[in-house]
Symmetry: C2
Subunit: 366 residues, 2 copies
């Protein structure tokens, strides 16, 4: 069995490889191929740095260019302008120029933040993603979405900026905290639910192996996820159509994250409960069978993710969702399921959403 | 004589019109054509707002969409993250979404800042430029360069983001302070010096008319400048080659602006002295005739621009220029002239630059 796979992501602005396998970020041949630069700036966090930074620096050494590294505090609350500003300061202090390569070593927060800095430093420089969480491996490292949070909304400030390459190292998952592993599985469930009934079925049959970090099961779901994502972002890089389907569970999910304060629930946990809510909305709108909702609910629970959202008052729910950047022209946009593996977008105004929240017993009448 | 002209700018990422004429920003037919949006956010400054904001709002009224406006403090010192952040706050407070249109009403600072916000709000929304200074009309409003300054360097954080349209209203120049008019002429001289001997000759013959704001002369130099810029950015949107020639005078110019503190000299004033310096470097390197340098020096002086730079110590010059974002791999890049209307890029290391500065009597030996 070959535990390595390269998937090409072909977007309008750039084509690049996602190299999935064990030990990829330390492979000198890959750095020879993708690492050309006047200097390299590694952006990481204080949790990941002790685990992998030395090994990465050793792998970069044969390139014989200056390497600088910036380790930020770990977690969603640090995906802010203040952190981006620290990176800009470090790049300028190190005289980084337009041929400097940024390397994002970490999970989704590090990737989004380092990607945003790469998108805007001197109007854009190249970067490479080394995702070290399952969530980043299967989702955020692929597709070029970069962003920082604003106190009033997640990912409100950002850019589309595709990486030069993604070195997806499955070995990093062996040290990932279980809670983070579960959060990553949320995005894999999402891919199954919105695009692949076969992936969904695979997850139903292999959740135990996945939670036990079986390398073959991990590689399988990472591959399937990256293929789904590469296909979608290849045809709709800037989310003018089909790419929006990848937001299944995310309108509710972002509301949960923001309502509790960023970092209280992990992004994947909020997406877990958000998917179940979106599934309930799908049933409420007559699009999804109750039995399929139950499959979704059960899979989310078996992954060890919360399937019930926090009980915000109705006005809070509405306010949080109206501020989401997926809302347009006063309407809120939701991705709903037509069945397992089939999704579409619906618009709902605030009255309709309130009716649903009340009917689902998710909130008390005002 | 038809005092209106539309020039198409065709870049890799977008094609858009620059409508040059008197009263363009108030023309309801143009807003019907280019103003579609869920809401409109006008970004301006406290100097420009009292002059034009009401008239702009009146012109937007038939579109029947919500209009919000943000008036920033005026000047280069405010081209910062703090100002961008104020705009983001206002957009979020007004529930602006991905179909919101930003309108930049002002000079280069407003255009760069509003453009940067448009490039990054919710990963990019559309914007329209209404340049109200000569510098913005002939240069900064066209080509999609957006940026904010970092304390350690001008335009260090930014993005390429082309506007949906540029409504270049020559009538706004009638109220422009003379100092700002002169600063704008610096960029027109630049266009002549680096790309068009005939524009340069026209400026030599018509500087008095231009300073008297003769509408025909203004239209002529704006048209010629936009044509030159459109041609260059059309073939090299992201400055991988030819577009760098538009930086003639800017390596020295940015060093002057930053060395004195942003806003002490206007950008155009620094470019005036910077072009004469770059001309001297061209002569020093044996590329330009002394007589052509004298034509350049004389034209800069006739425009009322400084032709002599501040006398920084050598280490300060070198430090300021090494930090410029045009420097690559330790070398500094300069645009030099082969003759009036012909430019090219040369790389110089710091020792060579120091020798030139000493030879030109621009700084004392350490």
């Amino acid at each position: 069995m070959n535990l390595e796979r390269t998937i090409e992501v072909a977007t309008a602005s750039r084509t690049y490889p996602v190299v999935i396998g064990s030990g990829t970020f330390e492979r000198r041949d890959l750095w020879q191929k993708y690492g050309r630069a006047s200097s390299i700036a590694i952006v990481t966090n204080k949790t990941v740095a002790p685990l992998f930074l030395d090994r990465l620096c050793a792998a970069l050494q044969p390139l014989q260019v200056p390497v600088v590294s910036i380790a930020l505090d770990d977690g969603e609350p640090y995906k802010t302008w203040a952190s981006a500003s620290k990176i800009f300061d470090a790049l300028i202090a190190a005289r980084c120029d337009r041929d400097t390569l940024i390397v994002a070593l970490g999970g989704g927060v590090v990737g989004d933040l380092a990607g945003f800095v790469a998108a805007t430093y001197q109007r854009g420089i190249d970067f490479i993603q080394i995702p070290t969480t399952l969530l980043a491996l299967v989702d955020s490292s692929v597709g070029g979405k970069t962003a920082i949070n604003h106190p009033a909304g997640k990912n409100m400030i950002g850019a589309f900026h595709q990486p030069r390459a993604v070195l997806a190292d499955t070995a990093t998952l062996q040290t990932l905290p279980l809670r983070e592993l579960r959060a990553g599985i949320a995005e894999v469930i999402k891919h199954g639910a919105m695009a692949s009934a076969s992936l969904f079925t695979y997850l139903e049959a292999n959740m135990t192996r996945l939670l036990a970090r079986d390398p073959e099961a991990l590689l399988k779901v990472i591959e399937e996820s990256v293929l789904i994502k590469a296909d979608i972002v290849g045809s709709d890089e800037r989310e003018s159509g089909e790419r929006a389907l990848l937001n299944f569970g995310h309108t509710f999910g972002h509301a949960i994250e923001q309502g509790l304060g960023f970092g209280t629930w992990l992004h994947g946990e909020a997406v877990g409960a958000g998917m179940v809510l979106a599934g309930k909305l799908s049933v409420y709108l007559g699009m999804l069978e109750q039995s399929d909702l139950e499959r979704l609910d059960s899979l989310v629970m078996r992954a060890g993710l919360p399937s019930t959202p926090p009980d915000f008052p109705p006005a809070v729910w509405l306010d949080l969702m109206a501020g989401d950047k997926k809302s347009r022209g006063g309407e809120m946009r939701f991705v709903v399921l037509d069945g397992i593996g089939r999704a579409r977008v619906v618009n709902q105004d605030s009255k309709q959403v309130l009716k649903f929240l009340l009917a689902a017993g998710l909130t008390e009448p005002a």
